[in-house]
């Protein structure tokens, strides 16, 4: 059972929104006393995913939640966009694959940085990515 302790939504529409968004995630992580390395991993993953959202879907909405499960606290981020969707998720999750001009580490890399990673996509409707980083994960 995951209990939501605190939540916030942020609209991401332009690249200037990325830095304030990262700062907000940091505030949430600091509030639950997440260690520096885990904070950095979470914020880097968040940065990759938010950049994907801007690049492929012209932005979207991010839900930031402080959650608790048993004795563990963590941060859950849900990235929702109304972009073109991803036709082949397993291909998109592959290291080094990119449909754009980037390095192709965004999705697989952010998956490695967090504890739980979930991606759902429907062609023509959009993509939702949800990640969880536990405080001690």
């Amino acid at each position: 059972m995951k209990i939501v302790l605190n939540k916030d939504t942020m609209k991401i529409e332009k690249e200037q929104d990325v830095v304030p968004f990262r700062n907000r995630v940091k505030e949430y992580a600091v509030k639950i006393n997440m260690g520096l390395v885990n904070q950095t991993k979470l914020i880097t993953a968040a940065s990759e995913l938010v950049r994907n959202m801007l690049k492929y879907a012209n932005g979207g909405i991010v839900l930031i939640e402080a959650i608790s499960q048993g004795r563990d606290n963590g941060i859950r981020l849900t990235f929702q966009d109304k972009g073109p969707g991803i036709s082949d998720i397993s291909l998109a999750m592959k290291d080094g694959y990119s449909s754009g001009k980037s390095l192709g580490v965004g999705l697989p890399g952010s998956k490695r940085l967090v504890n739980e990673f979930d991606i759902k996509s429907t062609i023509g409707e959009g993509t939702t990515v949800s990640i969880i980083k536990w405080k001690n994960g």
Binding site: E15, Q16, V18, V19, R22, N23, K26, L36, V37, Q39, T40, K41, I43, T44, S47, E48, R51, D95, S102, L103, V105, G106, P108, G109, S110, R112, L113
Partner: protein, 134 residues
């Protein structure tokens, strides 16, 4: 528009990134640096990222680009002061920062640049000697 200042010190260019960069700022820095390398005929570029709490794949690519571009322009690039948490994250993310040299701090970075440059400087001097014999 915001810009990251580039300082010139002899044959070197120094850049200290003090704020979290948004994309525009980072791409501007890339372009400005290459222009400066050209204009000042700098032999080395030192980038201090000790104040950066995050280096994602975009920023990693910018650093890599600066390294490769400077190389083509005959200048070496050293990235210094990376925070330990950033290093851990970069490797897990899958970025190895190929193409740029790294050093622990500004002092060591400077030493590394000087070393690289004297190493390359010695070769052309020998060539000049040969020319003078002719």
């Amino acid at each position: 528009m915001d810009r990251i200042p580039i300082l010139r010190m002899g044959k070197f260019l120094l850049v200290t990134i003090q704020i979290d960069l948004y994309d525009r700022l980072a791409t501007n820095l890339e372009a400005d640096l290459i222009q400066m390398v050209n204009k000042t005929e700098a032999k080395g570029v030192l980038i201090d990222i000790s104040a950066l709490s995050i280096v994602d794949s975009f920023m990693g690519r910018i650093l890599g680009n600066i390294g490769s571009m400077s190389k083509i322009m005959d200048a070496e690039t050293v990235v210094v002061g990376m925070q330990p948490a950033v290093a851990i994250t970069l490797i897990e993310l899958g970025l190895e920062l190929k193409g740029v040299h790294t050093a622990l701090n500004v002092e060591k970075g400077m030493d590394l640049l000087k070393e690289k440059i004297t190493m390359y400087d010695e070769e052309p001097e020998e060539l000049e000697d040969e020319d003078s014999v002719e």
